[in-house]
């Protein structure tokens, strides 16, 4: 019982203590405590502030953001109940058979859409004499392939696309929402470390809306008749990185020792061969 009381007290303190007080507790001139995987977020008292806007009146979506996509299990993280993702039988079988040690991401390959990890990413707007021509999505820990291009100056996808990890993206504004339409994906990346697959028929639509100063919502639609029996609608939420921070250099292949402790060599993914 006493342990429970302590635990509850700790939880309350952890949630309510402001960052400044936390810094005092640990001290700046003492040995520092370090969070692992804990990317600092915007302070709670700033989250509900107004949405900052660009000179053209559009919401500033820059970020950097943390979250806003899938990671370990897209089905649950996207707001569905276990078993609700309408996977075709072959896709469910593939997902069940895949092992996390084989996921391409752990071998420093790209994450694909809509995957994120606990590290920051941002939208980088490219304004030229023709206006907003491209938006780049930059992931600090992408892993390989850190940037993804959204063509704001195109309204149609090319009809001769080579399948790629990030596909071909075109974007437009619907009011304050940035809509990104992407096709042309390869079949290599996994939606999550659980191994949720897709085919090259994949078509995604992201609808990004900054609902307040500290929160960005991704209403995400998947259309892949090769994998799902119907269109899938998911919802993810990103939080703003602490405003004094930005993306840092990250070179995944520098010293990747994944697998050594567990006695395996990291895989580069498994194909969807089971359906064929």
């Amino acid at each position: 019982m006493r342990r429970c009381v302590i635990a509850v007290t700790v939880i309350v303190l952890s949630v309510t203590l402001p960052a400044q007080l936390q810094a005092q507790l640990f001290g700046t001139d003492q040995v520092k405590s370090v969070a692992a995987g804990g990317t600092p977020l915007v302070a709670d008292n700033l989250v509900n502030g107004p949405v900052p806007r660009l000179p053209d009146g559009k919401p500033d979506l820059t970020g950097p953001w943390v979250g806003g996509g899938s990671n370990a299990d897209m089905e649950v993280e996207g707001g569905l109940k276990p078993g609700e993702l309408p996977l075709l039988p072959w896709a469910k079988e593939v997902r069940d058979k895949r092992k996390t040690g084989d996921e391409p991401y752990t071998a420093c390959l790209p994450m694909g859409v809509p995957r994120v990890n606990p590290y920051p990413w941002k939208f980088a707007m490219t304004y030229t004499s023709k206006g907003l021509t491209q938006i780049y999505l930059l992931h600090e820990t992408g892993d390989a392939g850190y940037h993804r291009v959204v063509h704001m100056d195109q309204t149609k996808h090319p009809d001769d696309l080579l399948p790629t990890w990030w596909g071909h993206s075109i974007g437009h504004w619907e009011g304050d929402t940035l809509v990104i339409d992407t096709v042309g994906y390869n079949e290599k990346f996994w939606f999550d470390s659980r191994g949720t697959p897709h085919t090259d028929k994949l078509h995604t639509i992201e609808r990004w809306t900054r609902i307040n100063y500290g929160t960005l919502v991704n209403d995400f639609t998947i259309d892949d008749p090769g994998t799902f029996s119907k269109t899938v609608h998911l919802k993810f939420t990103a939080k703003l990185l602490r405003p004094d921070l930005d993306l840092m250099e990250f070179i995944c292949l520098e010293n990747n020792q994944v697998g050594a402790a567990g006695g395996y060599v990291p895989g580069t993914g498994t194909s969807n061969e089971i359906k064929k």
Binding site: I6, A7, V10, I11, L13, S14, Q22, T28, Q30, V31, K32, S33, V34, A35, A36, G37, G38, T39, P40, N71, A72, K99, T100, G101, E103, Y105, T106, C108, N117, P118, Y119, E140, T141, D143, S193, L245, M248, E249, F250, I251, C252, L253, E254, N255, N256, Q257, V258, G259, A260, A261, G262, G263, Y264, P266
Partner: protein, 139 residues
């Protein structure tokens, strides 16, 4: 010399500040054994500020005088830097107390859970999330 860890109030206090995954780049369970948590003392031989994850190497001497070099994984160097740990905060030659989850196959390749300098055991330099924490991703 190895002892099982009992979660104390201080550990819980620190951990809940940072209730986040230790291994963000890959799953915990594929490499580490959540039931094999150890607490050891040793001497740092190397601190690697390398991607995708930092590593600290520590020589541990057992009761028979046999020395084992532990290779301990942290999180990304960027994450550790953002939290204020700099390149001078832990150096080769320093005596430390650490807790880690042992590797499933190679025991001395562990996931670092907590590390303190021997002279300041109550001021941990690094406290990681772990599988006993709320919110730790299940693989």
């Amino acid at each position: 010399m190895r002892t099982k860890i009992k979660s104390g109030a201080f550990m819980a206090f620190i951990s809940l500040f940072f209730a986040v995954p230790l291994i963000a780049h890959h799953g915990f369970d594929t490499e580490y054994d959540a039931t094999k948590k150890v607490k050891l003392t040793g001497v740092v031989t190397k601190v690697e500020w390398l991607n995708p994850h930092m590593r600290v190497y520590i020589d541990v001497t057992d009761a028979n005088g046999t020395v084992s070099n532990w290779n301990l994984e942290l999180t990304s160097p960027n994450t550790v830097r953002r939290q204020g740990w700099g390149p001078k905060d832990l150096l080769a030659g320093e005596k430390v107390i650490f807790e880690a989850y042992a590797g499933k196959v190679i025991e001395t390749r562990g996931a670092l859970a907590k590390i303190s300098k021997a002279e300041t055991p109550d001021k941990p330099l690094f406290v990681a999330g772990g599988p006993e924490q709320p919110g730790f991703p299940k693989q």
